[in-house]
Amino acid sequence: MSGDVAVLGVGMHPWGKWGRPFVSYGVAAARAALADAGVDWKDVDFIVGGETVRNGYGGYVAGSTMARALGWNGARVATCYAACASGSAAIEAARTRILAGLCDLALVVGADTTPKGFLAPNAGERWDDPDWLRFRLIGATNPAFFGLYARRRMDLYGAGPADFAAVKVKNSRHGVHNPNARYRKEVSAEDVMASPVVSDPLRLLDICATSDGAAAVVLGSAAAVRKLGSAARVRIRSVSTVTPRFPNTAVDLPDIATDSAATVTAPAIGFRESIAAAAYEEAGLGPQDLSLAEVYDLSTALELDWYEDIGLCARGEAEKLLHEGATTIGGRVPVNTSGGLACFGEAVPAQAISQVCEVTWQLRGQAGARQVDGARVGLTINQGLFGHGSCVILST
């Protein structure tokens, strides 16, 4: 299809707690993606960086930081920040510029170096910043929000800690086979249940860590594909970067309160579900078409919410889907074949890009021991703080 943008190359720097400058990971990922694409950096005419907010000015201008690190080549530049959704916002910037006919070869890079422990707000007294206020007034960390979602699944659907642990067990088995994952060890349900409670009902091993890492993709126009030769290419079928619709009645990080639905009826579907719905509509595809999905498992319980949000099953049925093995490699629609955040830990500006890397390897049949047989269509999804949708659908 002429309206599609091709994924020419993908590359990652392994996730870990390496303690080096984020730029070094970004360069490694970018060079890997360029080599994978068979594209020379000097021919790239647009570079987009996913911003990192914890690495000083160089992180705020990640696009140009990466361009400079790779050696100035005159490419147009942009930097995107959309919290956890930064990577897909960056991909969308590159894709739309290609679709507009304004560039042929785009490099998208996200890289991060993260501090230890809870993600805390930036320093200083900021009484008008909701992200600061939720810590100051309530002590509501990110895991506290994940705990709220998890507890709701328990009280509404009868889910339990053993169900959540089973998500971790599955993802750890997937991640064992991923050389880019930080944690490559099988975890048992007993390990999860024996780890300390962080935010009831979630335990330490239910919640993803924060990591250093980088991911990059090279995207190309139809003209670029012709020039590079006739090899089959993975295509981006849609990107959804939707915002919520008023009233957004979902309890969302980092807000202390939802919108009020007293005067305007809430939308028929919630924000997370609407992210996927927009991507399906743009791609002309549906959940039944998926061979696999990469979903943002900030917590084990949240992965179950995503099953329902992307339409793999009805509300309240995610635990059943999980226990049937449908979302395990070899099942009907494997989820988080990469190992997910459970095995990676979150590297904010790189994470959405890494999801696209995994789906690309799967669609090319290059995922090794993680390979989903006959993978044709894959979906990546996440959500960034402050109302950022993030969903990419790719196909062979």
């Binding site: 422990g117 809870f118 007294e125 206020l133 100051r136 002590g139 009233p247 202390i256 309160a257 939802t258």
Partner: protein
């Protein structure tokens, strides 16, 4: 002499009975909390006339959790060693809004269920010299009757 003040101005009252303060659009009636906007959040309304109104003092639990580890700054722990506290997201029926808050002292996740009733209280969040800083909290209504907990 100690004085008690709200930790943040204009979000809640501290006289008995305390209430959260929201804003309400005089044009379309949409509520807002925190009361920080000076225009209506409803995209179908361009009113900039938001009146300050007390919000319902009881609500139903949307969900709940706790903080077993001390949250990072700017959270200030009142206790040393740190004592875990619970957090509830509470739905107010009239306003159709969900508001987060800590759960009142002495109550934990075991005292809550999705759908159970809680009422608003103000309690010390921290003590800064002679000044006690108060915050809104949600207290489980044990008897099923607001104002009669414990």
């Amino acid at each position: 002499m100690t004085t008690a003040v709200p930790v943040i101005d204009g979000w809640f009252t501290i006289d008995e009975p305390p209430t959260l303060l929201g804003r309400r659009c005089t044009e379309c009636g949409t509520y807002q909390f925190p009361p920080t906007g000076s225009w209506c959040p409803n995209p179908g309304c361009i009113s900039e006339d938001m009146e300050t109104v007390p919000l319902s003092a009881t609500g139903t639990v949307w969900s709940y959790t706790d903080a077993q580890y001390q949250p990072p700054p700017p959270y200030v722990s009142r206790n040393d060693p740190y004592q875990p506290f619970a957090i509830a997201a509470v739905e107010l029926e009239r306003e159709q809004i969900i508001i987060l808050g800590q759960v009142a002292d002495g109550f934990g996740v075991g005292d809550l269920r999705v759908g159970s009733t809680v009422e608003l209280v103000v309690e010390p969040l921290e003590t800064d010299g002679e000044t006690v800083k108060l915050v809104w909290r949600w207290r489980p209504v044990v008897s099923g009757e607001a104002g009669d907990a414990r």
